[in-house]
Amino acid sequence: MTNNDIRKDEYLHCIRCGLCLSTCPTYQLTLKETDSPRARVALLRAMREGLLERPTDYTAAQYFRCLLCGACTFICPSGVTVDRLLELTRREMAELGLMPHPLVALNERVVEHHNISGEPNENRLMWAENLPEPPSGIGRERAEVVYFVGCVSALFPRSYRVAQSFVEVLERGGVDYALLGEQEWCCGYPMAINGGLDQARETIRHNVEAVRARGARLVVTTCPSCFYFWKHTYPVALGEELGFEVVHSTEFLADLLEAGRLPLRPDLPEQVVTYHDPCDLGRKGGVFDAPRRILAAIPGVTLVEMEENQEGSHCCGGGGNLESFDPEMSRAIAARRVRQAAGTGARVVVSACQQCERTLFNAARTERIRVRVKDITEIVLDALESRDQ
């Protein structure tokens, strides 16, 4: 997401062919042109060309009613990077003071508390408290790997399980890792997509220094948005090399499994699963194989793909902070995705993102759709030999 190198007049390359309407989750939901990528680009153009002289809250709303999922960019035959254009327009809206209130509040929380929930940042390790043994990564001053937990798994009890499962797997694999605890600050992504990339720079600097201080060669995240932002925006925002690698937990786990470092139980049950590609991990981050390699490495797991998979994946509804701005729309989009998942006949939907997991889980529950939603780290943990063996 090198927002800075996008061409100023890129909106002119939209020839209004309409193909992006066919993949845009918001348009597909309402079938109203205003909710389409083509219209969002047209509005931007109207602002540039004077047809829309004074943008209002309603103008801004069109950009915040978007998941920034990138499905439009992927399909656009004339090469418009629509989602980046829309992200930049969000920033412009913010500069005009048109950012929707819940998102202003979100940015303020991050600046003040260094996390999205607004609680004291010391709470970042609460998820570790009810583990049988405290993770060895706590308080470690030097380590090969830093596990960057991310706000959601660290602070939302519903998602603790992702962090818990992942450290458990790290322990079993004998990985030399550190947790940053309260020195971990929100990665800055939520701010950046709410129009505050400049605000995010301080937090970016802080996090990079924290990792450097531990002499780590690798940062691993379970959150695809953290991953994407660390990997693609951090170096650009700082204007320098990070000096360490950034990988997503699925890449890390796939390597561990294939290297035989994670002993699997012999008696694994047969299960049919489908895999939901998170937008930031797949289409935007380019990681498609690693999660599939993991599933292939676990005996008994059969993967059936949804029709919209990999680059063509359909957002879970949780992208772009839509949930804060228009929860109802977010829920409806999630429901559509869960129905697609259930349509494959799989009993389990696996994702590799705490946000996807949460949105899909809620949708499955409210819509009474009979599929279980799991994060891929849980699937791996379930397949490991129990500790005492």
Binding site: D9, L12, H13, C14, I15, R16, C17, G18, L19, L21, S22, L31, K32, E33, T34, S36, A39, A42, L43, A46, L51, L52, Y58, T59, Q62, C76, P77, S78, G79, V80
Partner: protein, 457 residues
């Protein structure tokens, strides 16, 4: 206008009646670069709601412009006189699939590709395949009588329309046609609305004919060092008595643009490529035909002919073909795509003359299209912000039309007239045809509220 909007909101509810500037901008354009704001955009969900909207519009003498997915390439769904942009996209249900009689009844706003996927899952087939099938509606396809690659063998949209439900300009609802294949009771009103571009009535439902899905398909790609050879080959294949399902031509710029967009490993050192597909229910015959096609291509100067080995390869080739038109935007901010047809034997001459126009005016013209039925899409690439270029483009368009007419062809094979080609109608149709068409419009829409200013000059 205000009174009309209040009434509409009262009857349809505020969610279906959009008046903000942002919403009006969203309903101001189509797949061209033209644009004009409607006063209001309305999103009805049933024939009854459409009828009410048209009635109210008639009372207030306000224009109603039907709109599908606005992928049109003729400016036909742009509300140039303001008024109501009437979007059919929410009327997208499949009403009845009759597998025994192979017909399907749908609402007009259904996306063509969705309908195709639905019937193909059931072993049936709806052949008309405009390249825009994922971003256009059946209603829009009927209103433009859309064609596509497969129309060479299977015919155009109009050949599959058995009946229509149409809201007339006074709000009455007309039913035409029916499931019977032969039907000569009265005038053929169904055909009247095919290609009417929203100027005679609002299509709200359609009864469509389906066929059994061809079980076997072979797709070949032939590379030609010379564009002239490629265009000659088209007629050579057809004269040999083979009717391929599709026969598509792309020139070198088209190939380069797709390759830039999709990285398929297409050859960048040839002047043209043909994509040819044969299909049917007898595998041997299908294979035999594609082999004959390959031989004819080689005899006529093809450097290489490759037959797709898997369904993925084939899908990729078609994805490539479908993205030609939009991928041209990589070359220049604007493109003006024409849609002429010429008799098959005149294709090489037409291609030569068009390239000559391009050279003379110093602006690139990319040529691709459904060569098998003589339908070419010369696209002029330019920058509209430069008024001098735009002036050149306008004369070039005139010359391209002259080429078509001189070679006994016509102005539009499938995109329709809209506003962009209106000035050329008189020359294309002659006074008698034009007079008859004007009387039809007068009879059906005496107040001239349905898509005014379109089609007829």
């Amino acid at each position: 206008m205000e009174e009309l909007i209040v009434k509409l909101k009262e009857i349809l509810g505020p969610d279906k009646v959009l008046t903000s500037l942002e919403d009006r901008i969203a309903y101001s354009y189509d797949g061209t670069f033209a644009q004009n704001l409607p006063d209001v955009a309305v999103l009805p969900e049933s024939t009854d709601e459409v009828a009410v909207v048209v009635q109210i519009a008639a009372e207030h003498r306000v224009p109603v412009v039907p709109r599908g997915m606005a992928s049109g390439l003729a400016g036909a769904s742009i509300p140039f006189s303001g008024g109501i942009a009437l979007s059919l996209t929410r009327m997208n249900r499949i009403l009845e699939l009759d597998e025994g009689n192979r017909t399907v009844r749908v609402e007009a706003g259904i996306v063509t590709a969705d309908l195709q996927a639905y019937v193909e899952e059931r072993g049936l087939f709806y052949p008309p395949d405009p390249s825009s099938n994922r971003q256009s509606t059946i209603g829009g396809n009927i209103a433009c009588n859309a064609g596509g690659p497969r129309c060479l063998k299977y015919g155009v949209t109009g050949d599959y329309v058995l009946g229509l439900t149409v809201v007339l300009a006074d709000g009455r609802v007309l039913e035409t046609g029916g499931k019977a294949i032969k039907n000569v009771v009265g005038y053929d009103l169904t055909s009247l609305f095919v290609g009417s571009e929203g100027t005679l009535g609002v299509i709200t439902e359609a009864l469509l004919k389906l066929i059994a899905k061809p079980q076997f398909v072979r797709t070949a790609r032939a590379e030609f060092p010379s564009l002239d050879d490629a265009s000659r080959t088209v007629n050579a294949i057809l004269s040999a008595g083979i009717v391929p399902a599709t026969l598509e031509l792309m020139d070198e710029t088209a190939i380069e643009c797709i390759e830039e967009a999709m990285h398929l490993g297409l050859p960048l050192d040839v002047e043209a490529m043909l994509i040819i597909e044969t299909d049917g229910s007898d595998e041997e015959a299908v294979v035999r035909e594609i082999e004959a096609v390959a031989r004819i291509c080689r005899e006529n100067g093809a450097r290489a002919v490759e037959v797709a080995q898997s369904e993925e390869e084939r899908a990729e080739l078609w994805r490539a073909r479908r993205s030609v038109s939009p991928s041209l935007a990589r070359r220049a901010p604007n493109k003006l795509g024409e849609d002429i047809t010429v008799p098959l034997s005149a294709i090489p001459e037409a291609v030569r003359r068009i390239k000559e126009i391009s050279a003379r005016y110093g602006l690139p013209i990319v040529i691709f299209g459904h060569a098998g039925d003589g339908n070419l899409h010369p696209n002029i690439l330019f920058d509209k912000r430069d008024p001098e270029q735009w002036a050149r483009v306008e004369s070039m368009v005139g010359e391209i039309f002259d080429v078509a007419l001189e070679l006994e062809g016509t102005l539009s094979g499938e995109h329709g007239v809209g506003t962009l080609k209106r000035p050329y109608m008189e020359e294309a149709l002659g006074p008698v045809s034009l007079d008859v068409q004007r009387r039809i419009k007068q009879a059906l829409d005496p107040l001239n509220i349905l898509n005014p200013g379109k089609v007829l000059p």
